[in-house]
Each structure stands twice: as structure tokens, then as C-alpha cells.
């Protein structure tokens, strides 16, 4: 029973990922797309956590941590570029 | 002259945190990890002591814990409220920007306040104005620019942020 519920939760999160993809493609501005990408990172972490419960293994949590860190650092880096990159300083 | 314990462990809280995080990262308490965690917890603060800014210290651990629990509660409760706003029709939405006058001055409490405002649903902190270039400069009165998802009563919102979050922070940091 628990595995079915976790599977259902994974379907919901997958749906969320598809919505994020739509938002990413629709835009319209670059910060909008960046926000969608950042949400995609977090959703994929949620998916990995569900997969960990589903397969009863905690091997994936390190991958989830890596995604969390890379997602954060890359989002902040792109933001910083948008704030500073297009001005002649 | 600082005592030798102070020189060996300039930031004891950070050392404990590093120790715990290393063990969590490895997900085990095997002796080898305990040794490595101890070495890192002692070594990293020593290596980074030279380029760390002096932050406002705080000693009121009990108040900090109460503050943390209250924020967690607020996050859960107010998220339920947000669901209604998000799933309702867009034309009922009343977004807006609000300037919250600040009494806090130091960097660390301001950071905590801004993060709390961002995490509690309905508000995202956008900027602290005026912009501060030099951390030692006295800026006079400063404001927190907040974006609100569902703005009904501006004065009430400012009052809530000031009383619920800024007041405990001022007590915690004694400023």
C-alpha cells in the first residue's frame, strides 16, 4: 500500500515537473525562466526523496544533496550575471 | 590576551555545527568519521578565522529556539492560506510592494529577518534600502522592501512583521 501511495506521489511530482517545463518554455522574461529552472531543481530533489522511500535505499540522497547545491549555486550565479553582466562598470 | 581555548576554537558553535554536518553527510558514526569530523571541526575555523567579519553575538538560546519554532509554525499555517490564494481566480489577487521601516542595524539580524520574511508565506523580501556599500557606515533609517501576494491592510502587515519577527530578534541580539 505504501509503495502505491509513494508511486502516486511521484506521479504528482512528475506532473509538477511538466508544468515547470511549460513555465520554462513560456517565459516570458529571463528571470521567469530562471525561476522555473530553479523550481525544477527542487522538484527533482523531491522526486529523488520519493524514489528513496520507494526503493528503501538511501543511496540517492547524496545525489539529491548535490542537485540542491548545484541548483542553488547556478541560480545565484546567473542572477549575479543578470545584475552585473550587462552594465559597463 | 585571549585564552588558549579561545585561540584553538575561535568559534565553538561553528565547530560543533561542522562536526554534526560532517557526520550527517557521511550518515555514520564509525570511528574514522568521528576522527575526520573532529579534525575538520577544529581545522576549518582556524583556517578561516582570518577573513571572517565580526558578527553581532547572541546568547539567548532559549529565545532563539522559541523564535525558530514560531517561524516553523507560521510557515505551515500560512501555507494553507496561500493555497487558497493560489488556486483562486487571478482577478481577486491583490499583490503589492510595501516598505517596512527597520530598527535593526547589524548585518546578521537583518539577514535573519529578511530570510524569515521570505520564508513566511505571502511575503518575499526584495531589498534593504538604502543600499550599503561600506559595512561600517551608519546609514540612518533603513527600509525593507517587501512584495506581498495578497495585500489587504498595509499598516497591519508592517505592524505584524515588526512585532512578530523584528521584536524577538532585537531581544535576541540585544540591539
Amino acid at each position: 500500500m505504501l509503495t502505491q501511495i509513494v508511486l502516486a506521489a511521484m506521479v504528482l511530482i512528475g506532473l509538477g515537473l511538466l508544468l515547470n517545463l511549460w513555465a520554462l518554455l513560456r517565459g516570458p522574461s529571463i528571470p521567469d525562466r530562471l525561476l522555473a529552472l530553479d523550481t525544477m531543481y527542487i522538484n527533482s530533489i523531491a522526486l529523488l526523496l520519493c524514489y528513496g522511500i520507494y526503493g528503501a535505499s538511501n543511496l540517492h540522497f547524496e545525489a539529491a544533496l548535490l542537485i540542491a547545491m548545484l541548483g542553488f549555486v547556478s541560480t545565484v550565479a546567473v542572477c549575479k550575471f543578470m545584475l552585473r553582466g550587462d552594465i559597463i562598470e | 590576551m585571549r585564552s588558549w581555548t579561545e585561540r584553538l576554537m575561535p568559534t565553538p558553535v561553528r565547530s560543533v555545527m561542522l562536526f554534526v554536518v560532517w557526520l550527517l553527510l557521511n550518515n555514520s558514526v564509525a570511528p574514522i568519521h568521528l576522527v575526520a569530523a573532529t579534525l575538520l571541526a577544529l581545522g576549518i575555523p582556524l583556517l578561516t578565522a582570518g577573513f571572517r567579519d565580526q558578527q553581532t553575538p547572541f546568547r539567548h538560546w532559549r529565545q532563539a529556539l522559541i523564535y525558530l519554532l514560531r517561524v516553523l509554525m507560521d510557515i505551515v499555517l500560512a501555507n494553507i492560506q496561500i493555497i487558497r490564494v493560489v488556486l483562486g481566480p487571478n482577478r481577486l489577487l491583490k499583490p503589492g510592494f510595501v516598505l517596512v521601516p527597520l530598527e535593526l542595524q547589524a548585518a546578521l539580524p537583518l539577514t535573519i529577518l529578511a530570510c524569515t520574511v521570505s520564508l513566511t508565506p505571502g511575503t518575499v523580501s526584495a531589498e534593504i534600502l538604502p543600499y550599503q556599500d561600506d559595512p561600517t557606515e551608519n546609514m540612518g533609517e533603513r527600509f525593507l522592501l517587501v512584495h506581498v501576494l495578497d495585500l489587504n491592510d498595509e499598516a497591519a502587515l508592517i505592524q505584524e512583521i515588526k512585532q512578530r519577527y523584528e521584536q524577538p530578534l532585537r531581544e535576541m541580539f540585544e540591539c
Binding site: T39 | I75, N79, P95
Partner: protein, 117 residues
């Protein structure tokens, strides 16, 4: 299925629903600044709930000590406001327009004036 497993199932479902609501908000809300509210809060809370579920599952159902998930939740709760802050700054800097119903729209220009050139 024991009582504890029901609790875990409930937490997992709740977490997934919150994550989904965050994504729905991203698509549905009218402008960049309102969209920002969905992912930073609903999604973060959803992840917190999922982490709690997996903590209960590994420590009490499988009976093995595993607290690594705690680190994920901690990291996300620290980084989510920072990301939101940077995104708002980027949006204000690029003059991303807010929906016309927004109150106090003039405050958006305020942050631009204050920034040193």
C-alpha cells in the same frame, strides 16, 4: 499497514501536493513577482514534509539510523530565501513588469535609484 505507515503515506502525499501546488502557482499566477511566491514557499514546505516522511520511514520502519535527509531540508530552508532574494533583485534590475493591479508600483523604481553605478 501499521499506523506509522499511514502517517508516512499521509506526509508523502501532502508533500507531493505542496510541490505540485508550487508548480501550478508558477504557471497560473499573472506576473514574475507573484509567481515567485509559489516555489519559494509551497515547494520548500512540500520538501520538508517529504524529508520528514523519509526520516520516519528509514529510522522506524526499516530500523536503520539515517539522518542524511535532514541535511537536504536544512540546506533548502537556508537557500530558498537567498534564491528568492536574488531573483527579485534580478527582476527589479531588468525592469520585469508587475501586473497592473499591483499596489505601490512606484516602489519598484526606488531600488534602482539606490544602486551605485
Amino acid at each position: 499497514m501499521t499506523g506509522l505507515e499511514w502517517v508516512i503515506a499521509l506526509l508523502v502525499l501532502l508533500g507531493a501536493i505542496f510541490v505540485l501546488i508550487g508548480s501550478v502557482a508558477l504557471v497560473k499566477l499573472p506576473d514574475f513577482y507573484t509567481r515567485l511566491h509559489g516555489p519559494t514557499k509551497a515547494t520548500t514546505l512540500g520538501l520538508g514534509s517529504l524529508v520528514l516522511a523519509s526520516l520516519l520511514f528509514f529510522n522506524f520502519v526499516l530500523d536503520e539510523l539515517s539522518l542524511q535527509q535532514l541535511l537536504i531540508a536544512l540546506f533548502l530552508f537556508i537557500t530558498a530565501p537567498v534564491t528568492a532574494y536574488m531573483l527579485v533583485k534580478a527582476g527589479l534590475h531588468r525592469n520585469v513588469d508587475a501586473v497592473s493591479a499591483t499596489k505601490n508600483k512606484h516602489l519598484m523604481q526606488l531600488s534602482e535609484k539606490q544602486r551605485p553605478k
